[in-house]
């Protein structure tokens, strides 16, 4: 009889494999928007809590933060210190204005006029945004195509 996988083994809890894994306690790097760096945080924006986890790899650093709404947010920084991708997963969609930064307006323009009522797939030259889910379970990811480091598959952005 075929083994039916338990929910815990499926992607909800799977983490990208990285060359080196570190858990830093007590550090609190600021959150940043897509395309920005740690200094791009706006005045008074303390929406995202301190990094719960930081994962380092040869090509990038991934900060996992928790939004005030319990949604898990991941920010992927390249070796230039800039965020080339973000992803989120949780019972509420995070603040897209804060997460997408200067790309938020592009998102709004691209998302208007959709006739599909279901997932959101935006593929523009240079920017991919994918959102899916339903009430109580939302997830999504956005990445700058030209800034994804060589050697990193976009499948690992999640």
């Amino acid at each position: 009889m075929q083994t039916i996988p338990l929910a815990s083994t499926l992607f909800r809890n799977v983490l990208p494999t990285c060359a080196f894994f570190a858990l830093l306690l007590g550090s609190s790097p600021a959150s940043a928007a897509l395309g920005g760096d740690v200094s791009s945080i706006g005045a008074g924006q303390t929406h995202l809590l301190a990094s719960a986890r930081i994962q380092r790899a040869a090509t990038h650093v991934m900060h996992e933060l928790q939004a005030p709404t319990g949604t898990k947010v991941r920010e992927y920084l390249g070796n230039d210190g800039k965020v080339f991708a973000v992803s989120w997963q949780g019972p509420f969609r995070p603040d897209l204005r804060q997460l997408l930064g200067t790309y938020y307006d592009t998102y709004i323009q691209a998302a208007k006029g959709r006739v599909a009522r279901g997932p959101v797939n935006i593929e523009l030259p240079g920017l991919v945004i994918h959102m899916s889910g339903h009430q109580r379970a939302f997830y999504g990811r956005a990445y700058l195509v030209d800034r994804v480091p060589q050697g990193l598959s976009t499948d690992e952005i999640r």
């Binding site: 075929q2 039916i4 996988p5 338990l6 929910a7 499926l10 992607f11 909800r12 799977v14 929406h47 809590l49 928790q66 939004a67 005030p68 709404t69 319990g70 992803s87 949780g90 019972p91 509420f92 969609r93 603040d95 897209l96 204005r97 804060q98 938020y104 998102y107 709004i108 998302a111 208007k112 006029g113 959709r114 006739v115 599909a116 009522r117 279901g118 997932p119 959101v120 797939n121 593929e123 991919v128 994918h130 959102m131 899916s132 889910g133 339903h134 009430q135 109580r136 379970a137 939302f138 997830y139 990811r141 598959s153 976009t154 499948d155 690992e156 999640r158």
Partner: protein, 416 residues
Amino acid sequence: MACTCAALVGVACSSSSSSSSSGLSPNVIALPADNVAEVSVDYGLPNIGYIDGLFAKITVCVPGSTSDCQTIDHVLVDTGSSGLRLFGSVLTLSLPELTDANGVALAECTPLMSGSLWGPLRSADFSIANEQASDLIIQVIDESTYPMPTGCTGTDISDPNDLAANGILGVGWSLQDCGPSCAARVGPSNSGMYFTCSSATADGCQAASVRVAQQVSNPVAFFSQDNNGVIIELPAIPAEGAPSVTGSLVFGIGTRENNGLGSATVIRLDDSGDFLTKYPTNGSASFAFIDSGSNATFFPDSGTTHIPTCFSAKHPEVSAFYCPSSTLNLSARVQDTYGMVAFNVDFSVANAMNLFTSQYDVAFDNLAGPDSPPPSGTGDTFAYFDWGLPFHFGKNVFTAIEGQATPGGSGPFAAF
């Protein structure tokens, strides 16, 4: 009671029992009754042409009144969510506002598709067919009473034309739209959907903890009977589509002669309302859900069966759908997350642009689209399998509400 007539479009039998999901025998559709409302897939609001949207007509009254009422048509029937939401611009009634213990108004930011629905909570007496829910907590979609908080983001959905419907009738598996997490203290354990609004100024609304009894609620759960779930019953349609389809929204599972499970297979849902689906049948599993409010079958195609998406320079939005060169007859494997059931389900994926060339057809059982950009390599794609409205044609699809008893066990479950 056996039914001897075939369930053609517009023809139904005097009583109904569910049929198998194989499609070999036509599903029997209940006639309008105390617990049965007529629903339709049609053109939608004037000049909109909604594709694969299922609509119902509902009545709301000022609580306690039988005359101060309004009937609203083209409310989207949505088993993927819970709660009744109506646009403030459509509502003519003055409904009482919900306030917290300190008398401060309650409002909600509800993520939906690419945007959010924002507006205050109200209470109403709700009725459909001959079922009633008194003092039902609903959301009025309205950005003028209280300004949207900055954290409520996305495309603007403040007008019926933005949604192509006058509201949403969420009759899914959950009792409230948020549940216990929104009753938790504001912080990482609280989903953050609810707000208290002390003033109509820019920062007048703050994230709030709202007890479950004050959250936007599943109308069906608050009927005095037939309150353990719903059945969506739509007839089969031709492969090229149909301009309009009439079916039934049945209230209750196993509470009357017309709403038994029959031979439907029960698929228990997990805490998020999901089960699993593998496509192809031996591929990796995605989380899956049945959602009458999704207007296509949205699923990830694996690297081995790369289905092209549509392209149109004039209408870039068609890239949300698949365009194989000819209709694909596919199979996926549906399983629950508990290891109790597993079986294959057949479905079709037509070339969406070919479907859309018909100017009049809006109902399609073979409209599909991606739930993720095609993967660049191997490995699990981060995607859901969304069995949307196309899945429902020719089947009776059950949604059982969490914690409610049915002859098939307690909800939450889906069955077909």
